[in-house]
Every structure is written in C-alpha cells, then in structure tokens.
C-alpha cells in the first residue's frame, strides 16, 4: 500500500463520542413544542378493498387533531406505493393515520374508526400465481413486462414437478439474456449439475424503526427521519411531501441501521409531514417493531433452476438459470438480474443463459437489501460449486480460485452484444493469502471430526458485489480559524464512510485530521451532491470527490501564496496546515491566513465563482457558504474503468448435532479484495458484521406465513430470529485479511466493502453444514433449519415442506 498519513490508519470518528454518551439524536429523540403523535390503521388482511370508512367518531374524540387518508395523497403510478392505500396489498399495509395530543389517544381514535373491508384474492407463493387459474396479487397483474404490468400464467409446464419441489422449465418469463452458446457449453462439460434451488425472503429489521417527526415553520418542512443517505433523500422526500427541495430541511445525523431499506428514507415518512401541515403542529410518528416487520422492506426470495456445466478441472463452462423472484406487491426490484450478474462475475462462465421474472405476492414490499441478488446468488449457487468440487475430486477452495475473475474481467448481462468489465478483481490474490493465513489445510483436517453426536464441518464460499460510484461532488471550506470544514451529503448509518472518505481531502492537503471538521446529516448546513449511502457506493465515490476537492484546495492555496509572496504557484507546497515555498519555509501562510486572503480575493477563492460542472445542489450549498473562507467545490472527474466490484471469501467452521439438528458456529474468517482499506477497525466491522448477517440468511432468519389467511406468524425478533451474539462464534476473535491491491481507478485505490461480506458468510455456513453431513447433500435451500438436517439424516422422516416452498 502507498505511504499515506491518514488513509489506512485507525482514528476516532467524529460521531462516536455523541453515540457512546447517549447525546446522539436519532429521529425519535427530537421534540418540538406542541408535538402530536400519529398512529396508523393498518390492514388486517393480505389483500382487500376498503368498502366503507367512517372516521367521524374518531375525529370527535377529545384530543384528536388530524387524520390523513389515502384519498388525500396523490395517486401513485402502479406498481409504486403511496404510503397509505384503500386497497391494501399485504397484511400491515397502512390505510390511514390519525394525529392526537398523545399516542394513547391516537391509538384509541384508530380503534374508533369504523372500517369495513371487502376481502380480495391473495397469493403468497409466486408459483401459486403462475399456475393456470391461480390468483394475482394485484388486480392489474402479477408481473412487470418491461415497464408494463401484465399477467403471466405458466400453462405449458409440468405442475406435478413443482409439487415435488422441482422448478419447471419452459414457462414464459419477462427477462432473458445469453452470452455464448449455452447448449454448446454443456456439450463440452465433463460434469453437469442441474438443481432446483431456493433462497428465502427476509426482512431488513434495522434496530431503529422508520420513525419520523416533522413540523413546518415559515413555509419550510423540517423533517427528522431515519435515512441512510442525506443529499439523496432530499429530492425524493420533497416530492413525497409535495414541496420544492429548497423548502425541505432534512435532519438525519444518525440512522439506526438500514441495510438498504432506508436508502432514501421511506415513503411513510411523508405521513407525519402531511399530518403536521393539516394540524398546524409538529407530528411524531413512531413506527413499532411489528409495523417495521410489515412495511420496513425485505429481501426478495428467489426460486430457481440452476444448471451448471463443469470441466474436469473445475472450470465452469456453462450456466443456465431460470429464476422467479418473489416481488412482494410493489415496485420493480430486480434482484434476480443482479443475481445473474454476480454469478457471471464469480464463476466467469463462457456460456450463460438467464431467464427470469418477478412475480407479485401479497407479502411485505421488497427493497434492496445489502447485496441485493448477490446474497441469493451465493446462497443458491455456492453449494452447487462446492458439490462439483467433491464430485470432481477437487479442493473446494481451488475450484473457487479456478473460476474467480482476474484483472478487468468481463461479466454480466451484455449491452449491445457486449459484456461490461469489472474495474479490478483480485480475489485470486485474496485466496492465495488466506490459504496460508487461515491455514486452510488445518481447517480441512478438522472436517468430519466427531465429538459425541456433534460433527465438525468446514465451508468456504466466494461472494462479490458492487463497490462504488463516480461523478459526485466534494465541498470544503478552509476557515479563517484554520479549520478545514469538509461537507458531505453522505449519510451516517454506522459504516462511518461519511467520515472515512472525508479523510481523503485531508490526505490531499497533507494536514492532520485534528484540523478537520466534518459537516454532515443536515441539509441546512449546505451539503454537496453525494452518492446514495447504499450499494457500497460511498467509499469509492467519495474518496474520489474529496480527493478532487482536496487537490483543488491545494491548488488554490498555492495560488494564494504565490500572489502573496510572488513566484509561480507550483513553487509552493502544502502540508501540516500551511502553504509554504519549497526550500524556504519562512515564506509561508497558515490555512487561517490563506482563508482570510481568499475572502479578500473573492471569485474562485471564496466560493463566489464556482465550477460549472458541479451539481446544482452543490452550487446551492457552495453559494450559501461563499465568503466564509477558501471555499472549494469540485466534481470527481477522475478516470473510470468499469464497474467497481469487491470480493469476499468466507471460511466457516460449524458443529452440527446429528441428534438435534442444531448448528453451532465455531469460527468464521474472511478474506477480501476491496482495494485500499481506509479505516481498518471499520473495515473489520463490515466484513464480520456482514458475514454474520449472512449467517442469518443461512441459519433461520425467515418469515412464516399462514397460507389460509395470508397472515404473518413470525412478526417479531423472537420468532423471525435474526442472529444473536450466541449465534456468532464467540470463543475467539474472528480473523480477516485483505488482498491489499489498490483499485487502479481510484486515486487512493479504495473500493466499498458493505455488500460483498454478506454472501460470503451465508455461503460458507451453508457449505460447512453440508460438509459436516459428509458433503453431497442436497439442501438446495436457505435457511437450513434443524428439521431439514434431521430429515436429511433420517430418510424415513417425511419432509415438512418441499425445496421450493415459501414462508414456511
């Protein structure tokens, strides 16, 4: 790694003291004079129409101040949602909201609402909607073909296969692509595995629900909501509320987790804002844990048929995928397409065909969840590759290495007949290091060891996912007091990238971090146009933009010094909070002195004159900051070289109790290729936190729904089971390692690391469970529950469900 002073070093982030003393304010921690509380009336049925609604008794109750119904919202264009509806499409969908002087009164008013529902047909399993004569989740169709809602039924397939857990082939789908010639690929394969596989839907469940509080002052709406992004929440939230973005003040310095479910906050946050406008008072809408389970978003499950062709050396030559995604009732989420892209990247088949579609169901809305599609790809396909290694008598890490991409490998859905390329890929280097550091041979030696009824299993899996964007803006102010104020529109959901990426500007200025002040999380504080805080976009995107702003600031400092002392700008250097003449440090100005001079000079120095290529939001913010010092706004115009992707390789060791089916995780190690590490402590948190989130995918986090009534059975933590601290290995610290290969298309070599770790955790654990059972077992399904293990071990037991069953 290059010799950096700040990058790659641990440091104390500017938010942690507030967090650890309880001073950090999340959405529900704000109070406003005369604040009302809102409660929601939510649908008790999976699909219904409001037949009769009488709110008069509720409105007549003392203390009730305002009601908001779906009729008052602009109609959303199908298949989008409005936030309130008269035709609920899933249990728990909000129908109306009431604001009252306190929350109990609001809840009582909700009970006083007279409402009558006409139940409508519902469907929970995409397969049931594809059956001829099967119900549609929506009255206007069961899928999206291009941009149109339509209905597709699979008339020609053999439905008896579905009943036996076999994903049928030949049904109509909405999306299809192919590279090479998949049939020719299978013809040259030495081993073909053709499997029906399933990865279950699961909720995001951030610990902070999507609570929001809003009020109006002088025509502006002040919104305290839970959101991952800041700059990229402003526009959408203003649209939802129906105001100009300049009339919205968004305050969201802390977000209690999102995992993709709060990338731009939530449409339901418009409810307190609109109620507040009606009531003329601030409104807090606290979202309960159960409501969060209903409308807090979820990862779509995928039912698939996966046919993989291998050469005898383990090389994947052909992949043929047919995928049906459980789309929930709204939107266009395309996990199945990213699932295919990631399979193409991880396994690099010369021939690949993908057929897929999303099918609407009356289950909670889906959204991007940490590596959307990528996690499902690993959960469904890593066990297939693992099984191939066994059948071809290959080392299970070798087969991953053999297929892993290298350099600027091509992958994914072709555009104009050509596949795109990854900006850099060093998973092979990561594997080579990990093989030694993690002692793969030693791990393998423990495979199959018995301790009473418990057997040790070892698993390894690779995952990949997007790791950055480009073209966003940097904005900083060097103030007369010498401080460098770095503004960022990146949100703060705990990855700390808002701060870690700000260090790029200080690195460029060669100045200690103590002289920096990060400004974030409040649009009234003038933030630049930024990447979404999601999809691991910020680490790459904002090291670029802050490096650009840092270099631009350096240039302006040199010019100011040249103006003061004479000579050319490049005879001056910048470092340690000063600009000084090379070889004559007596001719120097502090940042504070240079900032004062910048204010006198005006123009390009104090923000009065700004670059033309920056985003309008950045222009607005920089203009507001003009005159406060040396004001620098810069767009990231650095070269790009393909799609930015990171890789993780997870190594799991489990103990499976063959008597009870219980799985205990003994150890987890993760290797990664994520370019230059900006902040090792946070990096470790991402790779291990993501990995353990993957354990949830592999080991029991799921929905259970009553098929007769379409209602949730597992609505809370204790029943839908996100991993606890005892589910994670806890006898020793978990290890991690990095390839440490900088990305050539980032000035600091950085790539994001939020997404890729989840799949590695899931895949490694799934493979480890199979390994404990002797390999060659066909769970082909995640999560693996104890009863599935016992059924596998005791063939005389009946399976509780088949491989493709959803929400069981």
């Amino acid at each position: 790694m290059a010799d950096y002073k700040l990058i790659g070093k641990n440091y104390t982030t500017p938010d942690i003291l507030a967090k650890v003393t309880g001073r950090a304010k999340y959405a529900e921690d704000f109070r406003a004079e005369g604040m009302l509380f809102a409660k929601l009336l939510v649908s008790p049925m999976p699909h219904a129409r409001v037949r009769r609604l009488d709110t008069s008794a509720a409105m007549a109750m003392p203390g009730v101040e305002a009601i908001l119904t779906a009729d008052e919202l602009p109609e959303a264009e199908a298949p989008q949602e409005a936030g309130l509806t008269n035709e609920p499409l899933y249990e728990g969908e909000p129908i109306l909201a009431i604001a009252a002087v306190d929350e109990e009164t609001a809840a009582e008013a909700i009970e006083a609402v007279q409402i009558d529902f006409e139940p409508l047909p519902f469907v929970l399993d995409p397969m049931d909607s594809l059956r001829p004569g099967g119900p549609n989740a929506r009255l206007d169709g069961n899928t999206m073909a291009g941009r149109d809602l339509s209905t597709i039924k699979w008339d020609s397939v053999d439905w008896s296969e579905v009943d036996r857990g076999i994903m049928p082939l030949g049904g109509e789908v909405t999306d299809e692509w192919q590279v090479g010639d998949v049939e020719a690929g299978f013809a040259e394969a030495d081993l073909i595995l053709d499997e029906s596989v399933f990865s279950a839907s699961l909720s995001h469940q951030p610990l902070e629900t999507r609570t929001a509080m809003a009020y109006w002052q002088n025509g502006k709406c002040f919104m305290h909501c839970s959101t991952q992004s800041t700059a990229r929440t402003e526009g959408g939230m203003a649209r939802w509320i129906g105001i100009d973005p300049t009339d919205l003040v968004l305050i969201a310095e802390y977000c209690g987790g999102g995992f993709g479910s709060k990338i731009s906050s939530s449409i339901q946050a418009r409810i307190p804002a609109l109620l507040s406008r009606k009531a003329g008072k601030p409104v807090m809408m606290r979202v309960t844990r159960q409501e969060e389970n209903f409308f807090g978003r979820a990862r779509p499950g995928i039912q698939a048929r996966a046919k993989f062709g291998f050469k005898s050396d383990g090389r994947v030559v052909a992949i043929d995928l047919t995928m049906v995604q459980d789309g929930g009732p709204y939107g266009r989420s395309g996990d199945y397409m990213s699932c295919a892209d990631q399979a193409s990247l991880m396994y690099q088949p010369e021939h690949m065909r993908v057929r897929g579609m999303t099918v609407y169901t009356n289950t909670p809305p889906r959204g991007a969840q940490r590596a959307p599609g990528g996690v499902q790809a690993v959960a469904m396909f890593a066990p297939i590759v693992d099984k191939a290694a066994r059948q071809l008598d290959l080392d299970r890490l070798d087969i991953i290495h053999t297929n892993a991409p290298q350099g600027q490998a091509l992958f994914g859905r072709p555009r104009q007949g050509r596949q795109g390329n990854v900006s850099s890929a060093f998973p092979k280097e990561a594997i080579d290091k990990a093989r030694e550091e993690f002692d793969w041979e030693g791990m393998k030696a423990r495979s199959g060891q018995r301790n009473g009824s418990k057997v040790t299993g070892v698993g390894v899996a690779i995952s990949s996912y997007s790791a950055g964007t480009s073209g966003v803006d940097g904005l900083l102010v060097i103030r007369p007091d010498g401080m460098v104020e770095i503004h960022t529109g990146v949100g703060n959901l705990g990855t700390e990238s808002f701060s870690d990426t700000s260090r790029a500007a200080m690195e460029a200025l060669d100045t200690p971090w103590e002289q920096a002040e990060v400004v974030w999380g409040d649009t009234s504080k003038h933030l630049p146009w930024s990447a979404i805080q999601g999809g691991s976009q910020t680490t790459h995107g904002h090291t670029r933009s802050n490096w650009a702003a840092g270099l631009e600031a350096k240039k302006r400092l040199q010019e100011i010094a040249a103006d003061r002392f004479g000579g050319s700008a490049d005879s001056f250097e910048v470092g340690n909070g000063r600009v000084f003449r090379r070889g004559n440090r007596g001719q120097a100005m502090t940042f504070g002195q240079a900032a004062e001079r910048a204010i006198q000079l005006g123009g390009v120095y104090d923000g009065s004159q700004l670059p033309e290529d920056i985003n309008e939001m950045t222009t607005r913010s920089a203009t507001a900051l003009a005159g406060r010092g040396l004001v620098v706004a810069a767009k990231d115009n650095f070269e790009t070289g393909g799609r930015n992707m990171s890789f993780c390789i997870g190594f799991a060791e489990v103990e499976v109790d063959t008597e009870t089916g219980a799985v205990v995780l003994k150890d987890y190690k993760v290797a990664s290729d994520a370019g230059t590490v900006l902040h090792p402590q946070n990096f470790a948190g991402q790779v291990h936190g993501g990995g353990i989130q993957g354990f949830g995918v592999a080991l029991g986090q799921k929905w259970v729904m009553d098929p007769q009534w379409g209602l949730h059975v597992a609505k809370r933590f204790y029943s839908n089971r996100p991993p606890t601290i005892l589910d994670a290995p806890h006898d020793q610290e978990l290890a991690w390692s990095v390839a440490d290969e900088p990305d050539p298309f980032n000035p600091l070599g950085a790539k994001g690391i939020g997404e890729a770790p989840v799949g590695a955790g899931a895949g490694a654990v799934l493979n480890a469970i199979s390994d404990a059972l002797g390999g060659n077992v066909d769970f082909n399904r995640s999560p693996i529950m104890g009863d599935m293990i016992l059924t596998m071990l005791n063939p005389e037991l009946d399976e509780a469900h088949n491989k493709l069953s959803t929400h069981v």
């Binding site: 003291l17 650890v20 003393t21 999340y26 002087v101 009164t105 705990g494 946070n682 470790a684 606890t724």
Partner: protein
C-alpha cells in the same frame, strides 16, 4: 440478574396495586384493525381515558443517575417512556418495546433491566442508571465507553446504549470474564449491524480497563 431479581420486581409491582392484567390492558391496544402494539403516552392533557379507573398520573420521585427527579407517571407507564419523554434522557433507545432486543437496557440497583418492560413505579426508591449517567463530571469516560471509543465499537449504535449498560454490569460483576462469558452476559441484546465480533472485543477491553483500575 435472574430469578431472584425477577421475584423482587413482581412483589414491588403488586405492592403498588398494579395488577398484571391492568398493565397489559394499559399497554396493548385492542381491536382487529390495530395490529401494532402501542406505547403508553398519556401526557397530562386530561383527555379521553383520563376518566378510566387508575389512569391518573401520580407524582413520584425517581433516583436517576444520582439525581432525585420528581415526575408524574401513569401506573402503566414504562421506565423507558418516563426516561425518554419526561426526563429528557433519550440516550435509552426503544428498539422493540417487548423485551426482545435490549436497546432499552438500564441499570436498576446495578442490575441490567429492560426499561421497556419495567414500570416506572417499580423503580421508586431504587437507583436507576442510564447511559447519560456514565460519563464523569469532568468528561472522563467510563471504561466501557473508553473501550468503545478506542476500538471504534458498534456501527449504527442504536443498540449501543443497551449493550453499554449491560457491559457496565459485566465489568462490575466479573471483570475477569472470558470472551465466551462476555457473550453469554450480553445475549439479551441484539445488534442488527451484527458487529458482534467487535462488540466482544469492546467487552474484553472494558474488562481489561476495569482490571487495570480505570475509574468507573
């Protein structure tokens, strides 16, 4: 904590004339259309249910972070709500309101308790400590807080106040805890960023600081 403590809590509740059924009635909104659990938040406007039996606030004195705080509380009001909405102590978080996630954990007489499932009336005469009460007057951090800062512990940190309070109890009770013992002690707290590895590093570091005599 454990069975003994639990029994004490029940006794206290009964002494104050709050029945279990009354409590449940107070906190759970009924009716088919309201599926969500509701928080008690009668804020003294004297409307609606103020006439209902037992639904009156009573002025009590609570010892919170070493201060005697006089506050009006409803019989069915939870400690989490009193702390957050009446005493301005929003550091204590509510993640589930049903004793599942532990974000609301505070210390009552040094014992970690879910404040979402503890009645404010139950803690009269007892010492309540929240995350706001850990830092010294001179800004010195508690060893647990210092460990968090030193190791960049937690991510979104919504779970952090609960974990930190539980770790304070851990360092008081058993600063020699092994990593596995730390995990068992903290098993009542959920982190959804699932940074459990780093959380256990923090717990071990906090124990180490405590063993080395750092002020707490």
């Amino acid at each position: 904590m454990g069975d003994v403590e639990h029994t004490q809590v029940q006794t206290t509740t009964e002494q104050q004339g709050v029945t279990r059924r009354g409590f449940i009635k107070g906190v759970i909104a009924t009716g088919a259309s309201v599926s969500a659990s509701n928080y008690v938040l009668r804020n003294g406007h004297g409307v609606a249910l103020a006439q209902a039996p037992g639904a009156v606030e009573r002025l009590v004195t609570l010892n919170v972070n070493g201060q005697q705080r006089r506050v009006d509380v409803m019989p069915q009001e939870t400690l989490a709500m009193t702390l957050r909405y009446k005493l301005g102590l929003t550091g204590t978080k509510i993640g589930c309101d049903r004793a599942e996630c532990g974000a609301c954990t505070v210390l009552v007489d040094g014992v970690p308790q879910y404040s979402c499932s503890t009645l404010s009336h139950q803690v009269r005469g007892r010492e309540v400590q929240t995350i706001e009460g850990l830092e010294g007057a001179d800004g010195t951090l508690h060893p647990v807080q210092q460990a968090v800062v030193d190791l960049q512990g937690f991510q979104c940190a919504f779970c952090m106040p609960g974990f930190v309070m539980n770790m304070v109890a851990l360092t008081n009770e058993n600063p020699d805890a092994t990593r596995g013992e730390c995990a068992h002690h903290l098993a009542g707290n959920i982190c959804r960023c699932i940074d459990y590895n780093k959380i256990l590093n923090v717990a071990e570091k906090a124990c180490e600081y405590t063993r080395n005599g750092m002020r707490s």
